[in-house]
Chain length 254, copies 2
DNA sequence: CGATTTCTTGATAGGGATCAAGGTCTGTGG
DNA sequence: CCACAGACCTTGATCCCTATCAAGAAATCG
């Protein structure tokens, strides 16, 4: 497990957590510095390598710096549920790492890089920068809202609605970190994983995507996904436009 | 909306949040006092009255003091998904209240009482008691783990497994706050709501419960639920015994 | 004690799983 | 540069779990 860690290159892309939070609230120089410190180390992770392995014990969390990752659980008989997709700037290892034995595994979906943040460091940050603590706290609202939405997907929406919703959510999230165009993005998941995220079988994901394609709502070419008719797809998905952006942290923290 | 608020009676039951956190980590006198202050006001809520209404704007959250509540979303066509069940000591209004317009509604399932905690108060607490902030932070791990489990339920488990898992989770949570016996508890939900929580129809919840009864795994008498065969039901549910209790906060905060 | 709720059970239908098999793409080694 | 293996995608046929529709029983409540 001894893996080389090099100091990070001091570019904007190299500190996605800072970028993400700064977009929500103006940060002081000290706060920025504290966040940078959290992203100072860099550990490369190969595609489909585990970042966190269920059952192990961790003394900290990770910040995903680049690439994508998924948190999931495999049941005894092999069924798998993907719980969420982490993108650059996300804290991964939450909540897994807060338990004696990590509850879930986290695996890189692409070549990726993470920063290691030991708990004592995280909690020191809470002590020294309570405002950052509050911001991080609020950030979890955002994440919790996505879980809720996924739960609604899987519990009460049809396959068609689920897939539509999933595509729009990914588009929105990728746009927020500058990794998607106006209407298109690169899908980091295979159809198998989409199925495991949405509680569907592979053939059914495939058929559902085909149907959406035939209705000219989306275009799929390899990993490239383009939403041909955003309004149409939004209607199908019952997607709350921008539910992910209607945040009030700024107002709350003044 | 102007509702009388009286000072709380100074009993142990009256401050379930304090009790819950104190069980995780020893609290200092100041920390205890700060928590008490969060639970100082009391607002009664009638059964099936809304505590938070989707679409409105709130400047704080609530602590559920007594009773039970649910967070849910209703889709345009009437389908409903129950997102979680709040029990005494839980913060309700998270994440709903952090958005401009609350994302979800929260309704009392029983006669209930809540305390109002304005954001400025919550964030002042973060400033003055960073350790409490860290504890609350960790507490959300616990909640996040339950969401994940619910997602696995709905995405990848059969109706039988879902219901079994749900019963065991409720038992565990109610025991943790001293509101359940060794193997029995009072179910705060109707079968309709169980269905809406687990993504099942009412008739199917009913049939599934009947089957579990016939197999002598559970006993149901009105609202009283008893788990006749805990090991059996645990096997059916693939329930990680005590996944809700294997927490490490104590160790982390020293 | 009448009126809602809530629970229960049956009959039918459909959405999506499962099983199966072929096609395509990508990378790798000869 | 080609052949091959493995991963991934695609499509079809069949089946089953669970939804839906329907209607009556029980319980709860004003």
């Amino acid at each position: 497990m001894a893996i080389a860690e090099q100091p990070a290159a001091p570019s904007a892309l190299a500190r996605p957590l800072t970028t993400r939070l700064a977009r929500l609230v103006p940060l002081s120089a000290e706060e920025t510095a504290a966040l940078e410190a959290m992203q100072a180390t860099r550990r490369p992770v190969a595609r489909s390598a585990d970042i966190v392995r269920a059952g192990r014990n961790y003394d900290g969390v990770f910040v995903l710096i680049e690439g994508a990752a998924m948190r999931y659980r495999v049941l005894r008989d092999g069924r798998r549920q993907v719980l969420n997709i982490a993108l650059p700037g996300d804290l991964v290892g939450f909540p897994s790492c807060f338990f004696d034995a990590a509850l879930f595994s986290i695996t890189a979906l692409t070549e990726a890089a993470v920063s290691w943040v030991p708990f004592h460091h995280l909690f020191a940050l809470f002590r020294q920068h309570p405002r950052l603590a509050a911001i991080l706290f609020c950030t979890f609202s955002y994440e919790a809202a996505m879980y809720a939405e996924r739960l609604i997907d899987v519990g009460r929406r049809s396959a068609r609605e689920r897939v539509a919703h999933f595509l729009l959510e990914l588009l929105t999230r990728l746009q927020a970190i500058g990794q998607a165009g106006e209407r298109s993005f690169r899908m980091p998941l295979t159809q198998e994983l989409i199925g495991d995220a949405l509680g569907l079988s592979v053939p059914h994901v495939n058929r559902t995507l085909r149907r959406l394609r035939e209705e000219e709502l989306v275009t799929v070419d390899g990993q490239n996904v383009a939403i041909t008719d955003i309004d149409g797809l939004t209607a199908v998905a019952d997607f709350e436009t921008g539910y992910l952006s209607r945040f009030r942290i700024g107002e709350l923290l003044v």
